[in-house]
Symmetry: C2
């Protein structure tokens, strides 16, 4: 077992040139656009060709509701990808890119952990291949063009109070949340109140992650609703005339990034939308490219299965025509104990009854995911303090639910520790048992879709929404947006909207605070509770400790 830190392990990685990694997926060198020696983008031309192949099986890694104990969803995604390769399968993984801004607040992190990581870690926590910067530029170009349109006469008759398109920056900067711009007189425009969100919250990010290709990207960008007139007529990005230039700015960002795991297996790392006000999965383009090149593609969805898997199925898979073959639900003994009421400080002691008491959280996720027609395997991500009796308790519980739980040691051992899971997942995928169907049909009324998610997934009694919200949904239906799926934004820590309610609660209701239209991304965001779209820095930000040490290594970032 390794007790080195993630960054120590990552720095010792025996990376292969990215062309060799590409060759494992038969990507010709001329279609790999290198960024240094260990990162590359796959060319747009090759992506178009690869996407058409559709050879691979799609495996979703999701999890129980997150707890402070940590579940290791990305670690398991990486480990399973390595495990599949280790048992002789041609497999690739697809995960999200990291946001730069938050790294200066709290420490940044690995993609994965222990012996199951994607590298290069430093670059992935810094500018990587510039995708998020391109998204920031494209977003803010539209913002500048809106104010510029008003400055030069406002021919579209935009109501300056009803501009819904803000600006973005990939930085935790609370001072920019709420501001009055265009001060200083005639030459600076018309003063109005607005603000910045963090880049990952941009609708452009969600669009980039859902668009099939550059044409679809441009169409979706054009569809963004940026403002309303006094008569509440929607003004789109297309009305402003920004979608062409935004597409040009995003041409490289649309090409998926290829990197490698510690075991030199291919990993696509592309896109990173918020998992609350957006759908929280890597790009459709990356997933489809991987499915065209590999026999098994392991990907993950944000947060727990109630949010992440539901959106993965109901937004990403529905819209991209993807059909997952297997879902892996990651759980840990420690997280089961926390769900069973144990405090974080006491997680080190054996407590089988707490494990048993916490398991219903896992059980409900199993039932929910199966409800989408996708076979489930539970991965118990091993921690050194886990006892055999605790592990057995989880296995027994899962068996009672008609599924199988497999202990995995990829964190400590890499692919060697995850061959049993890999073998079982490959068997299930090859058996073609999945009969995937989304939770609700496109044509269901918007409010009914929300109720369906709340009742079937969260097991709430009802949805609480005042007349204004219901009327807004009706307005959007009248305007032709009724066929869009729902993107729920609620706490990830509970099935309910109360982050403190662990386990598998019932008898609760889901209050809707606000609804937002993401017409370009193609979903209706339903906000239940406080959602922060521009984080702040803590009292002692990580940035104060980040620097090059005397050996020229980055300190403080991890």
């Amino acid at each position: 077992m390794s007790f080195k830190t993630d960054i120590e392990i990552a720095r010792e990685a025996q990376k292969r040139p990215i062309q060799e990694i590409g060759a494992k997926l038969d990507i010709p060198t001329e279609h790999l656009l290198p960024f240094g020696h260990d990162k590359a983008k796959v060319s747009q031309e090759f992506v178009a060709q690869a996407r058409a192949a559709k050879r691979g099986k799609l495996i979703l890694v999701t999890a129980i509701n997150p707890t402070p104990a940590g579940e290791g969803k990305t670690t398991t995604t990486v480990g399973l990808g390595d495990g599949l390769n280790a048992i002789g399968k041609k497999a690739a993984i697809c995960i999200r890119e990291a946001s730069l801004g938050p790294n200066f607040g709290m420490k940044g992190g690995a993609a994965g952990g222990g012996m199951a990581q994607v590298v290069p870690m430093e670059d992935m926590n810094l500018h990587f291949t510039g995708d998020f910067h391109a998204i920031t530029s494209a977003h803010n170009l539209l913002s500048a063009m809106i104010d510029n349109h008003i400055y030069w006469g406002n021919a579209l008759d935009i109501d300056e109070r009803r501009i819904v398109w803000r600006r973005v920056m990939d930085m935790n900067d609370r001072a920019l949340r709420d501001m009055v711009v265009s001060l200083g007189g005639v030459s600076n425009g018309f003063p109005r109140q607005t603000g910045f969100d963090i880049t990952v919250a941009s609708e452009v990010m969600a669009i980039l992650c859902l668009a099939a290709d550059l044409d679809d990207l441009q169409r979706r960008l054009g569809d963004i609703v940026v403002a309303y007139t006094r008569e509440k007529k929607a003004i789109t990005c297309r009305d402003i005339g920004a979608e062409g230039a935004m597409t040009v700015l995003l041409k490289d960002a649309m090409q998926p990034n290829l990197v490698q795991t510690l075991e030199n297996n291919p990993a696509f790392v592309h896109g990173g939308p918020f998992a609350n006000i957006a759908h929280g999965c890597n790009s459709v383009v990356a997933t489809q490219t991987a499915l065209g090149l590999a026999d098994y593609v392991v990907t993950e969805a944000g947060f727990g299965a109630d949010l992440g898997a539901e959106k993965f199925f109901d937004i990403k898979c529905r819209k991209a025509g993807l059909a997952p073959s297997v879902a892996v639900i990651v759980a840990t003994v420690r997280a089961m104990k926390m769900n069973g009421g144990v405090a974080k400080a006491d997680l080190g002691s054996e407590n089988v009854s707490a494990v048993e008491k916490g398991c219903p959280n896992l059980g409900r996720h199993i039932e929910n995911v199966k409800g989408f027609g996708v076979p489930v395997v539970v991965a118990i991500n091993h921690f050194h303090s886990d006892t055999e009796a605790e592990v057995q308790a989880v296995k027994d519980y899962v068996a009672e639910q008609g599924a199988e739980a497999i202990l995995c040691r990829h964190w400590a051992e890499g692919s060697k520790g995850v061959t049993e899971l890999a073998t079982r997942v490959a068997e299930l995928a090859d058996a073609d048992q999945a009969q995937f169907a989304p939770l609700y049909p496109d044509e269901m009324p918007l409010f009914d879709k929300i109720q369906t998610i709340a009742r079937r997934i969260y097991r709430a009694d009802d949805v609480l929404a005042d007349d204004k919200i219901r009327a807004q949904l009706k307005e959007w239906e009248a305007a032709g947006y009724g066929n869009l799926p729902i993107c729920m934004a609620k706490t990830q820590y509970s099935f309910t909207t109360d982050p403190t309610r662990r386990g598998a609660p019932t008898g609760h209701s889901v209050p809707v605070r606000e609804v937002r239209l993401s017409a370009g991304a193609g979903f209706i965001v339903v906000i239940c509770g406080e959602i922060m779209t521009m984080p702040g820095l803590p009292r002692k930000p990580a940035a104060e400790s980040i620097r090059f040490n005397e050996e020229g290594l980055i300190e403080g970032l991890f």
Copy 2:
């Protein structure tokens, strides 16, 4: 002669893989960090080694005061570099990177023109290798940390009215010039007035372009003065604790970018500080790297010689220990005619007397540049409407000034059209005649330095500055900043501060409106007239026309 557009020519370029271009300068493949197949960064390790060699001769390309007729300074820089290679010399060029934001207002442009260009043109007008995005991030991290410091108790006792560090964005967005941030209540901080500049105006940009290496970069970033206390004590970036993280963000951006000319010769394109509130030259690191690898390095400075060459000599060369061997002053017959009073519409007709009347502008630049101890050659950048008599008039005038003017046809013919200039420049450089010395010594009082520039370069009678400005300069001298050079910010169109006064005016004075301390970059900015640090978009922004056409080519950007 070619009548294709620059972009048409650039798209037909027979580019060689960037590794081949690097090989021309003996850069090993492992030290070339590729960005796609036609761009690369030179590794920090190799740069450190290359800089020590100091083998090459440095050739500055500067110009007369710019006119709407266009002079072709970058075109001549590129052409001369190709010309030197064509006559068998090992030569490289060094130029600035383009700013992204302005391309969405007016059309972006080539680096060079006609048959004397640097490619890939699209990438160089878009995100290139991400340097400017990294600068934006580093700048705005410091901004966020300042507001965060105040939010958490303001232990440094920063006077919120005296924060001089703004935010930046690489976008023309006038709405962000002047704003009130931190609205919305307790959790968003203390409301205060501030704004955004465009990224190229960032002091971080100037610092990156003057820093010798990562250590020097970090030291300079730490020196930035960001605010003052109520007692007017300066608060630096180091006090905020941001310089380490900013350096980490800039580690890749500090590595110079290598691309190629249409004739497959090496071109370093790195950094792009404003030529008014900053010094307007490419990075010291790129220039020194090129000087370590090539026998001749052709570089350019922003605007005309009165601003660009003066800052190149007095800021960049002084601080980096560079000693230019030759200066090329670019002039055109058309620009001479405009200086002689001809309107732009009438430039097509022969007018020898107007050429003669305009030549004193050129003459004064020749005299000024010679005053720095650097031999001068004039390059007459040929335009198809130039007549022999007009060209001869320029040549005769220059000969009277004790210099030589050489007609160059690199725009139409590439290196073939510039062999005479290349041969003469190489001869002058090899003769080692230069006895470079900056205009004023470090220890001269700040106001005397301003007067020296105004009298000796602009030929003004005097400098007008009110007591407040003189007192500010004295304060900075007392604080230890008295040894810094001056960075003049005035109109580039005239030797005077009045943009309409062409030719070689005398009898004028230089009114100083404002002085600013760039303690990290290491100069005092002296502002004479209006300087815009955040441009706006025009009524019909170029962005509205930018898009991919049906052939997948970018339209509207050029």
